[in-house]
């Protein structure tokens, strides 16, 4: 469904992403893990068309994604790490604006807004200004904004930062529902348990390079079993792969 091939991006002398390749399959969730500064957000930005790669391609259904108005962009939804919402506007007005960017209008837009708000359980707060929302509600609305145009692929960059367990669980349920609908998801996070619960496949990236691309079982098999024969946690695998030195 979505494939990245040999992506490279440098900012001056800093090579943020170097020869990164992986693929996302329809109806699956791929967890993209890495320490701070590993190149996750830069990779997601290139996949969403926010950054132009120095080298390599982003392919959607085999077609290269390039150009501002490329129709393939409609098949991608972005849920950025920031709460990319207008605090002074209502939830509905936010979604109305983001939907219009995808040329949605009229009854179609109204239906999509209602459906997205329903999914994230904010239908009753549609007319309230976003600045009155809790952090968790804003995160859910952030997710809804990425879903409005009904994309086949959803790129989620740390979508649960700073939310309480209830909102986080609600977001997980939303994502599982989307997966069941056949959506393709890419999910970056620092929370290993989230990936353990959601991901069908995991790519670990460090210092701009892919250092592992496997299923959870496959990654766990790379590390010797814990004392007592139990399976190692993903966090142990991650620390084994990326080391224990601080990455500030």
């Amino acid at each position: 469904m979505l494939e990245v091939r040999h992506l490279r991006k440098a900012f001056g002398s800093l090579v943020a992403v170097d020869d990164v390749s992986f693929a996302l399959e329809r109806g699956r969730l791929l967890g993209l893990l890495g320490p701070n500064g590993a190149g996750k957000t830069t990779t997601v930005s290139m996949m969403a068309g926010l950054l132009t790669p120095d080298r390599g391609d982003v392919l959607v259904a085999g077609q290269p994604l390039a150009g501002d108005t490329n129709p393939l962009k409609r098949s991608i939804g972005l849920v950025p790490q920031d709460l990319a919402l207008y605090d002074e506007l209502s939830a509905r007005d936010n979604l109305r604006f983001f939907g219009a960017l995808y040329d949605l209008s009229g009854a179609v837009l109204d239906t999509r807004i209602a459906s997205a708000l329903e999914l994230v359980e904010l239908a009753d707060r549609a007319r309230d200004r976003v600045k009155t929302f809790s952090g968790g509600m804003k995160r859910r609305l952030n997710l809804a904004a990425g879903l409005l145009h009904d994309p086949d692929i959803l790129l989620l960059d740390e979508p649960t930062v700073g939310v309480d367990p209830q909102s986080r669980n609600a977001i997980f349920e939303n994502l599982e529902q989307l997966k069941r609908r056949g959506k393709t998801l890419l999910y970056t996070t620092h929370y290993m348990e989230e990936v353990e619960r959601l991901a069908d496949r995991i790519v670990v990236i460090d210092r701009g390079k892919v250092i592992a691309d496997d299923t959870l079982d496959g990654l766990q098999a790379r590390v010797p079993a814990a004392v007592g024969g139990g399976r190692v946690t993903l966090e142990t695998v991650f620390l084994t792969l990326t080391g224990r030195s601080l990455r500030d």
Binding site: S45, A100, D103
Partner: protein, 431 residues
Amino acid sequence: MAITPFAAMIRKDLQLFFSDRRAVVLTFAVPIAIASFFGSIFSGARTSREAAKIPIVLVDHDESAVSRGIVAATAADKTFTTRPASEDEARDLVRRGTATVGVVIPKGFGDAAGRAFFAGGAKPELQLLYDPSHGMELSMVRGILTQHVMESVSREVFGGPGGRKFVDEALASLDRSGTPPELRQRLRDMLTAVQGFYSEQDKTPGAAARGPAITMPYSVREEAMTARTNVQYNGYAHSFAGMGIQFLLFAAANLGMEVLLERQRGLWKRLRSAPVSKLTLLGGKTASIAIVALMTLLVSFAFAMVVFGVRIQGSAIGFLAVSLSCALMAATFGLLIAALGRTPAATRGVTTFAILIMVMLGGAWVPTFIFPAWLQQLTLIVPARWAVDGLDAMTWRGIGLSGAVAPTLVLLGFAALFGAIAAVRFRWEEA
């Protein structure tokens, strides 16, 4: 350009603008308040008002007929408000700023001035004590005082008792002077004739009081060149143009800085991830800023029209053309800020400074004619100058559509320049 995203960009920006009450008040009410204040100072309103008088203090140490004449004429002059004072008092009043100029007439001034009038020699000194912060008023006082001194001295010389004494003294000292004999004789004839004139005056009761004096050999008829005859200058038109443009630029700059905030909050990631062209994004932003800027100007002028009787005495189409081009210039200026600025905090100070300099040089605060000549020429590179001049031309100057052409074209030129720089320097990549 896709219409739906374009229209959505405009609608969203207007919704955000009107949701911020502070911004709305700043944009609409503040320029009206400040322009009303400046207008009341600089102009006057619909009815003609007496100009502010210059306060001066008069110190008469001489108390001669000449000095009393100067004091009386100065007190009667409509340009001044006068009060007599001692010299110490005068110095204190000027130092405190209560009086702008103090005129000190020294002892013996009348006699010395009369002698100097006929025979030359040492001229008496009239002392002017002045407030250095009122240099322009000093020039006015000096000019008007010259008229009153000349009139008073000449009246005394040609008709007063002092004059007879001066003529007698001049005749007595004629032989002692080094004047060549032929010229001396002619001068004696003239002074003798003046003595005869005085004798004739004595025979005619009241003639001395009406005696001749050197007076201004012309009178002045003043006509303000406004839109039409009998249409009075309305200074509110200028002040509302100036303040309207200042706050229109502030409104545009604020919306430009909103782009930096949107970038900071990750909103541009959403915008850039959508299949929307750069032209649509920049066009939508330009259009929304231009609409707010145009509203700022038009609301200000609407208020000025209703409350202060400002009228478009020139071309209404020209007025709209200048306003629209001014709004476009401001919009692209806002875009320039969005393109060149890094963070809102760092950009705000620089932008405020740039706008204040621009409107100050543009004549929005004080008319450009008080600037030095070189600066008046330099301000032609400031867009605010063209905007103010264009709006002045269409309002109180009453110039037709032709007066709007140059300002409109120049403002559109600035808009194109700012827009081009913004498009080139805009950071499109979102890491």
